[in-house]
């Protein structure tokens, strides 16, 4: 196998094109090395993008937060810009795997691996991110969350010819907030039994719009469309948040997992997680509500 330590995006894309379908981009490598060891993925050329300075950057550009595809989860979790605008994302990236994993792994990798309960992929999903995809000799293209996920463990990226260059997230307005919650057996080295992320805009305690994503209840982060539509225009109070939690089940198809909970258990707890995610948003936006029941 040939291993290319690329120093620029141009060099990386050139090496990927030169490999003629037998190359793969490696960043954190915490999933890819295991998949290669197990024979699930093979490559004649690995193109390492961890030493490309602009792919490590986390910056504000216009009204967007830009996270380079090679920024590690630790770098994202501790970045002051991410903390300032999207504390929910720092919660998501900060609970993946273990510290050793987070010191190598990337948010982009967490998305590209496309596991339905991935903490990072889930936390970023409702933030309306654009994934910027680069390919040799072509204009960059942008995929949104829905376009990104193509099946269980699959994304729409052609890994032999394309790579994610960066993630661009619109900055929140003053009346917008996001949240991330997970249900877990243990904090380190475990995928969550369930996770929910949300983002909403509210005026005078009334929901203007809301995006709710949840997993593992389908392919990638699944939108709770029924709950979102129902909650728009309503007060962000306890009863409505709880009802939105119940309605989330209309879009969720959880399966039983011997380690991470039965379908029945997940169906019983998902509404509570959705309600908690909405409560967190209400708290951040200063919306006061009385707990009931």
């Amino acid at each position: 196998m040939k291993y290319v330590l690329a120093k620029s995006i141009g060099e990386a894309l050139g090496a990927l094109a030169d490999a003629q379908g037998k190359g793969r981009v490696i960043s954190g490598g915490t999933d890819l090395t295991i998949d290669m060891e197990e024979g699930k993925i093979s490559a004649d050329v690995l193109i390492d993008v961890t030493q490309i300075p602009e792919m490590k950057e986390i910056r504000i550009e216009g009204d967007e937060l830009v996270i380079g595809a090679s920024a590690t989860l630790t770098e994202i979790t501790h970045n002051p810009l991410v903390r300032r605008y999207f504390l929910s994302l720092t919660k998501g990236t900060g609970c993946i795997g273990s510290l050793q994993i987070r010191n190598s792994a990337t948010l982009t990798g967490n998305v590209v691996s496309a596991q339905p309960a991935a903490d990072g992929g889930m936390a970023v999903a409702p933030l309306n991110p654009a994934y910027v995809i680069s390919r040799e000799g072509a204009e960059d293209k942008k995929l949104n969350t829905q376009e990104m996920y193509a099946g269980f463990g699959r994304t729409a990226i052609d890994p032999h010819n394309e790579m994610v260059k960066e993630i661009r997230i619109p900055l929140p307005k003053e009346n917008e907030a996001s949240s991330y919650v997970r249900l877990e057996l243990r904090k380190s080295l475990s995928l969550p039994m369930l996770n929910v992320a949300a983002m909403a805009g509210a005026t005078g305690g009334e929901v203007d719009w809301v995006r709710i994503t949840m997993g593992p209840v389908g392919v990638g982060p699944v939108r709770a469309r029924h709950a979102e539509e129902w909650l728009a225009g309503k007060k962000l109070n306890w009863k409505n948040m709880a009802e939105a939690g119940n309605m989330a089940l209309l879009d969720a198809k959880p399966r039983s997992n011997p380690l991470r909970g039965s379908r029945e258990y997940r169906e019983a707890t998902l509404p509570i997680l959705v309600r908690r995610a909405l409560e967190d948003i209400a708290t951040q936006l200063g919306v006061k509500y009385e707990k009931e029941g």
Partner: protein, 158 residues
């Protein structure tokens, strides 16, 4: 085809040629014979292979050896100075934080990475830093106590 790389290992600059297919953990053990770095799961889930890579604790079983080019790497072998053990090593012994010992090098390297960045960690911060290191025999309480004791000693100078 073997490739030439250079890196700093335990304070010593080295140039060598490597097989690009190999992971850092295997390279350290099989080619440099630094067998203090253990290999448990080879999936990044047990922490036995933890080394400090450019100042950060990483599971070396998941690091392609080519990425070591230009890196500064610390392994358990670099901690003691001659016969004098590092305070973290001494406190692991003093607190009975070692039983079979297989996880110990990884635990100690995670602890060192923590104390290099944060000389005065809380018990919770120790748990977070060592959360990726699995021990099947000692239990974690003595390990946590050993790290906190080492931190206290190191703050006083050693």
């Amino acid at each position: 085809m073997r490739e030439k790389i250079s890196f700093t290992l335990n304070g010593v600059f080295m140039e060598t040629d490597v097989d690009p297919d190999v992971r850092l953990a295997d390279f350290l053990r099989d080619e440099l014979h630094l067998i203090g770095t253990k290999i448990g799961c080879k999936r990044g889930e047990c922490g036995a292979c933890t080394v400090i890579f450019n100042g950060k604790a990483v599971t070396s079983c998941l690091v392609p050896v080519m990425r070591a080019d230009g890196a500064v790497i610390e392994t358990i072998e670099g901690l003691a100075e001659g016969d004098k053990l590092h305070p973290i090593q001494e406190e692991f012994i003093n607190h009975g934080a070692v039983q079979c010992g297989f996880c110990t090098p990884g635990m100690i390297m995670s602890a060192k990475a923590l104390l290099d960045e944060n000389p005065n960690p809380t018990p919770t911060e120790v748990c977070e830093a060592l959360g990726g290191n699995i021990c099947r025999c000692t239990g974690y309480k003595k390990i946590q106590e050993a790290v906190l004791a080492a931190a206290e000693r190191m703050r006083k100078g050693w």
